[in-house]
Amino acid sequence: MNREQGTGSREQGAGNREQAAASSSDFELTLRLLARLSAPEGLEERVEASLRAAPRATTSPARILRWPVALENSWVRAAAAAAILAVMLGGGWGVYSLVQPVRPLQPARAVAAPPHLATPGGGFSNAGAMRTPHTLNGPVVAPQSKPEAKPAAHSSGKALHRAQPTAASEDGPAAIPGRYDK
């Protein structure tokens, strides 16, 4: 039963593959027919004619001046260009100097300017104004009095040794009667 199903599915698969191959060969045939088409007659002549008719401005690099044959040498060209430039500049200057209107001499007007108030930062000045902020009178703190002098017993080394508190007795030596009486 299973073997029959297997053979059946295999046959179906083979059939699908054949169909796919057939269809692929079909469409590839169409594409190949298109790709093998011959070009129309006279195509080359028409293309060449269009190329000949195309503007030839781009055949040589763009130029401002087309030099005559006599000016083939680059030094001669440079000299000619300099001469042309000098003539143009000279002519232009001559025309400019002729066209300039003659103005009568006038005394310069004096303009009264306010005195400049220099600021250290270079910004706007405050024109001498002073800001006085309205603040409340703050609390006055009295000067602290000097701490009182310590008793004289603390100054001697023996007394100091006695006065050191220990972890065992917070109350001091007076709390243990008779300990230091020996």
């Binding site: 796919a20 079909d26 169409t30 190949r32 298109l34 790709a35 080359e44 269009s50 190329l51 195309a54």
Partner: protein, 197 residues
């Protein structure tokens, strides 16, 4: 060395400052004429496979050569002129096709029946074959753009997969994978339409 390359190598020797301008122009014209005579038909077929209109395809070929004329100073740097020219015309036709999408689609069946070779077929068989071709091409149009382009380029027997990759601007492995996907999709579409019929 092909005829075009031979002419261009000669042209590069001629393109010296000491050579008069007219002689250089003549050399350029000769080189372009050689390119046209050698590759015009190939470019036309590439253009026609996409545009499927003879006058449009011819316009595309002319535009491609005009671009070559504009950029002929860089021709010496081109390694494979055939692939370079096919790439130029390929870009032109894809651009035209993209722009033409806004226009209504024309019926291709009659044009295909007229153009495609059908030797040994009577009128009825020819019409049926043209209809079949039109149906296949309609299915090709439904493919995704990347797969469609590779499939159409693969139909040109003179183009290897490396050259297809150079024309489409992708890697060779991408060409293979796209071609595989395109073939599968086409087989599915054609099988589906047959089962519907």
């Amino acid at each position: 060395m092909s005829a075009g390359e031979a002419v261009f190598s000669g042209w590069m020797k001629i393109a010296d400052k000491t050579v008069p301008e007219t002689a250089r122009q003549h050399a350029e014209e000769d080189a372009l004429a050689a390119l046209v005579s050698q590759y015009a038909a190939t470019l036309y077929r590439v253009a026609y496979s996409v545009l499927r209109n003879s006058s449009d395809a011819e316009d595309a070929v002319q535009e491609a050569f005009l671009r070559v004329l504009r950029h002929r100073d860089t021709l010496s740097e081109v390694r494979d002129q055939r692939v370079w020219l096919i790439r130029i015309v390929w870009n032109i036709v894809l651009d035209r096709k993209r722009r033409a999408k806004t226009r209504p689609e024309t019926d291709d069946v009659s044009e295909l029946a007229r153009v495609l070779p059908a030797k040994g077929l009577n009128a009825e068989q020819r019409a049926a074959a043209a209809e079949q071709h039109a149906h296949v091409l309609a299915c090709v149009e439904q493919l995704p753009a990347k797969e469609r382009q590779v499939l159409m380029l693969s139909a040109f027997e003179e183009l290897t997969s490396v050259e297809i990759a150079a024309v489409a601007g992708i890697t060779e492995s991408s060409v293979r994978s796209r071609l595989f996907r395109a073939r599968n999709l086409m087989a599915e579409m054609l099988h589906h339409t047959r089962s519907v019929r």
